[in-house]
């Protein structure tokens, strides 16, 4: 009630709020005045903020503020700054020969760091985050290379791609043999191909027929011993690595329908130093050839 406001607490001499909870009353200790001023300062600050920064939403945008600051333009500035910061090293990367990059620890570290990011952005969707590959997409960590594993080879593959449609793309594919050789011959040559890398043939496999069919049809590209030919991108059939799988059904499928995976060309899409960095990065996965 109104007259309760005038209650003064006997111990402290301070007025109470007049609220009464089972005989317990609340002191009405005033806040320090500077507290209030601090609050006013925050209001002034907010008004200053409206003036300086974009703040109030309008129908088709917002008030710009005198600085016209935008998160987007700030990022652009930061990126430009980063580019300037990386400039000298990027220039070095552009001008250095591939062998120089591999020979200089500082340049190698820089190229690998650049390559890691570029790989995650551009290559990982097919080749996997660590270049582990998957069926049809080569594992870049191993020492088996269809088109060569030297730095120059890798750069060329990156630049022009494989069967990418680019004029300088690596060409050559596994043609379909459906209708060219008989089904029993396909089965026999599949068994023979498996035997090349030491895989056990099926029971009753006609390896002699397979060998003949291979010599007649396959040796042109894969070589008489099945060691492959990097000029044509034809895989070495004697090693333990199978791009599409080593089971007989998969091999037969490949012979019947052919194979021809595509690696896009990156020239024009990635800058020269980035392509170099990617080549170095892929090379240092562990399979790079001297």
């Amino acid at each position: 009630m109104a007259d309760e406001h005038k209650d003064i607490d006997a111990v402290t001499g301070t007025a109470t709020t007049g609220h009464d909870w089972d005989g317990i009353r609340e002191l009405n200790t005033p806040l320090p005045r500077w507290w209030l001023w601090t609050f006013y300062i925050t209001i002034v600050w907010a008004i200053g903020y409206w003036v300086v920064y974009p703040a109030w939403p309008l129908l088709t945008g917002s008030t710009e503020g005198v600085t016209a600051w935008h998160a987007r333009s700030a990022v652009v500035t930061d990126l430009a700054e980063l580019k300037t910061q990386r400039g000298p090293m990027m220039d070095k990367l552009s001008s250095a020969a591939l062998s120089e990059i591999a020979g200089s620890p500082q340049l190698l570290d820089f190229a690998r760091a650049q390559g890691r990011v570029a790989f995650a952005d551009n290559c990982a969707p097919c080749h996997g985050a660590g270049g582990g590959g998957t069926k049809g997409y080569p594992n870049l960590n191993d020492d088996d290379w269809l088109w060569g594993g030297k730095l120059d080879d890798i750069v060329q593959t990156l630049r022009f791609g494989i069967r990418s449609g680019h004029d300088k793309a690596r060409q050559g594919n596994m043609p379909p043999f459906a209708g060219v050789i008989k089904p029993n011959e396909i089965s026999a040559v599949a068994d023979f191909a498996r035997s090349l890398s030491g895989l056990p043939p099926e029971k009753g496999a006609d390896l002699a027929l397979g060998k003949k069919v291979f010599a007649d049809n396959c040796a042109v590209c894969h070589g008489p011993e099945g060691k492959g030919n990097r000029e044509l991108g034809s895989p070495n059939l004697t090693d333990k690595i199978w791009l599409y799988g080593s089971d007989k059904a998969t091999i037969e499928q490949g012979i019947l329908n052919g194979r021809g995976g595509v690696m896009p060309n990156w020239e024009g899409r990635l800058s020269e130093p980035v392509i170099k960095a990617l080549a170095v990065y892929v090379y240092t996965f562990g399979g790079g050839e001297k």
């Binding site: 009630m1 007025a15 089972d22 500077w34 582990g132 088996d144 562990g286």
Partner: protein
């Protein structure tokens, strides 16, 4: 019956009474507002100068703490050519913290946790022994405020003179004195900010850069921030910081006990207060008379404006200046000193009842705090003294987990980071145990002529190496084999080891 029930009941019976009450309330609100004054201006405090034992201690503590703060960045410590020569340096760009012979890397930030534990328990121990002596002697807010009070007394005079002039109209002298005070305050505040930034860069170089205007923007910014905060907090906010902003008084009250020494007005001796003349009269007539002559000196010297005679108080920072003030008065009156002293309410009761006084410094509480400090400090010293100056950490490749080579061998790849905390370049050799026949390849490290693969890590640096381990054993390896990497310093033979796994299909 609560007020609400009473109101409800009256509403049933006497609606006109409610209306009358509302009208009365409205009239009251129009006069003084809803709930009385919401805000109050702080009472200006003019602490009087005082001399005595505790004032001397405070001057000494002030000189030592501020001396350390302002001068420590200039102390040199020779660490050789590859490291900074500043004794205490927080090197953010290089991610290093230097403290005399100790150098900490960012991953050793847990020593900060240890320091925080020591600081907290140290504060609790101080509190258990003698209440808020941290507040009274060591807290930066107290130390700087004390310094600012000294400047204020120097420019505007002691309490009486200062109060008198504040009550008078503005004169040239008043402007000059106040101007001088704020100038000196700002100078101290500026120097405070200046000393702060010196901990983050080579002090002599930065001083030179600051003087020629070539220092980085962050240095000026931080000097500005600390100048403003010092000037505001020590010059203008003062006891308001302790009363309204600091959490410690609230926490402290929950951590204290009845044995903790507090600045205490010994009311058993002081009451009833009366003048010297009256005390003589009362005593001659056989009536009790206290020693307190109500001179208010204890209140006038108090930096937070507390009347300690009212008992334990949130505003009291336990600085003991009221003790000094009271002792001077008691000396003049030829009465024993110590009417106000570091004492406990228990002892007041004890004296009243004729029991002996108890000063129990060693209690469960203080012993426990001391033990925690000893244990935490011991662990820190032990780990600091025995920590390794080399380290290895390994991340196994996640994709692919393993690689089948064209000859059928299995290979796992690891990213190995080698740490060299010594201030000289070192050469390490890496070996792996756990699988029978292995070969280690390093990316970017050409093998040396003698066939040994040495990894050189520069002084006070880390080096990341991509390492490939190939298993040539004819039997197919298990899906996972534990392997042990050992890093050996070829000069000293110091070893750092880490376990990881070798994966197979």
């Amino acid at each position: 019956m609560t007020a609400l029930e009473e109101l409800a009941k009256s509403a049933e019976v006497h609606p006109p009474r409610i209306a009358a009450a509302r009208a009365a309330e409205k009239a009251y609100e129009a006069e003084v507002g809803d709930d009385g004054p919401l805000y109050a201006a702080p009472k200006r405090i003019y602490p009087q100068s005082v001399r005595g034992r505790f004032r001397t201690i405070k001057w000494i503590v002030l000189a030592i703490t501020l001396g350390i703060y302002y001068l420590l960045p200039f102390v040199r410590w020779d660490r050789g050519a590859d490291a900074p020569s500043q004794a205490v340096l927080i090197d953010f760009p290089a991610r290093r913290f230097y403290f005399f012979f100790i150098e900490l890397w960012p991953q050793e930030i847990y020593y900060l946790t240890g320091l925080l534990i020591l600081a907290a328990i140290g504060l609790f121990l101080m509190n258990a022994l003698a209440g808020r002596i941290w507040c009274g002697y060591l807290c930066p807010q107290t130390v700087w405020t004390d310094l600012f009070f000294a400047i204020e007394r120097f420019t505007e005079g002691d309490r009486r003179e200062h109060m008198k002039r504040d009550g008078q109209p503005w004169t040239l002298e008043k402007y000059a004195r106040k101007g001088a005070k704020h100038f000196l305050w700002l100078m101290v505040a500026w120097w405070t900010g200046g000393a702060w930034v010196l901990y983050f860069a080579d002090a002599p170089t930065l001083v030179k850069e600051l003087a020629t205007g070539e220092a980085p923007f962050a240095a000026y910014l931080w000097i500005g921030i600390l100048t403003v905060s010092t000037y505001t907090l020590a010059g203008h906010m003062r006891e308001q910081v302790c009363l309204y902003m600091c959490p410690w008084p609230r926490i402290q009250a929950a951590l204290t006990d009845e044995y903790a020494l507090n600045v205490t007005y010994r009311y058993d001796r002081g009451e009833p207060r009366c003048s010297v003349k009256k005390a003589e009269q009362l005593r001659s007539s056989g009536q009790p008379a206290g020693d307190c002559v109500d001179c208010l000196q204890c209140v006038h010297v108090c930096p937070t404006g507390v009347d300690i005679r009212g008992g334990a108080n949130l505003g009291c920072i336990q600085c003991g200046l009221c003790i000094d003030a009271c002792d001077r008065v008691m000396e003049k009156l030829a009465r024993p000193t110590g009417l106000i002293a570091y004492d406990t309410d228990l002892n007041i009761q004890a004296r009243r009842e004729g029991r002996p006084m108890v000063f129990k410094l060693i209690r469960w509480r203080t012993s426990l705090y001391a033990a925690i400090i000893a244990i935490a400090g011991g662990i820190m010293i032990f780990t600091l003294a025995t920590r390794d100056s080399e380290g290895i950490s390994i991340i196994h490749d996640r994709n692919p987990m393993f690689v089948r080579m064209s000859d059928g061998a299995l290979r796992n790849a690891y990213t190995v980071r080698i740490v060299n905390k010594q201030l000289k370049s070192r050469e390490f050799i890496l070996s792996v145990d756990g699988i029978p026949s292995t070969l280690i390849d390093y990316v970017g490290l050409p093998p040396r002529a003698d066939g040994r693969q040495l990894i050189t890590v520069g002084p006070d640096q880390t080096k990341e190496v991509r390492v490939m381990v190939t298993d040539y054993s004819p039997t197919p390896p298990a899906p996972s084999t534990t392997v042990l990497f050992s890093l050996i310093d070829i000069d000293s033979g110091a070893i750092a080891q880490m376990r990881d796994h070798f994966f197979g299909p």
